[in-house]
């Protein structure tokens, strides 16, 4: 099955994403650029386009930052 998987991936049918952390900073900077240029909060699709990610990757990447901030702190203390 390893071969089938490699074939499917190399074919571009399934994209293995970059790391969460890398995407996290791409999202952060894309949002900052758009905030400046648009003068308002950018939408999910605008940020995805700017960061060259899918909206799905943006959602998961936002988690990379959130983890350190708010909630996790209190839960795991």
């Amino acid at each position: 099955t390893g071969e089938i998987k490699r074939f499917i991936r190399d074919d571009g049918l399934v994209k293995v994403s970059r790391t969460l952390k890398e995407n996290g900073s791409r999202v952060k900077y894309a949002r900052e650029r758009l905030l400046k240029s648009l003068g308002r909060e950018p939408t999910l699709e605008e940020v995805a386009l700017e960061a060259a990610l899918t909206t799905e990757e943006v959602i998961l990447a936002m988690e990379a930052g959130a983890r350190v901030e708010s909630i996790y702190q209190s839960v795991y203390q």
């Binding site: 950018p42 999910l44 799905e56 839960v75």
Partner: protein, 152 residues
Amino acid sequence: MTKNEMQIQFTAVSENEAFARIAVAAFVTPLNPTLEEIADIKTAVSEAVTNAIIHGYDGMTGKEQNQVYIHCLLNRDVLQVEVIDEGKGIEDVEKAMEPMYTTKPDMDRSGMGFAFMEAFMDELEVISEPGQGTTVLMSKKLGTLPFIDREE
């Protein structure tokens, strides 16, 4: 589509808190919300789920049976989220909702959970009875109506 609905149910352990907030964020994705709206919703859901796990089921045995339920309803541009536990309930809901009020100061709780839910969502209602579990009802209007109208 102007109406969409989902429900999730999971074991009341802190490992599932991130799962819960990501699931709700993913559910609203087709509406193309702003990143800020997504962050708001995630914070509110996290606070409600954390409360269910650490307060609702506090000291209750049968860990694997303790369940948290989330019900999300999207009606056009309004998201409604219900977070439900079948835990010990709250004696004085009004007092519990006061900013800074916490029954677990020892655990470094800030007592700001309900205040956050109130700040980040448009509406918040807490229904609870000792021994009857707790239901937290929140709703938020997303600034995506032009998007919905374009789609229709």
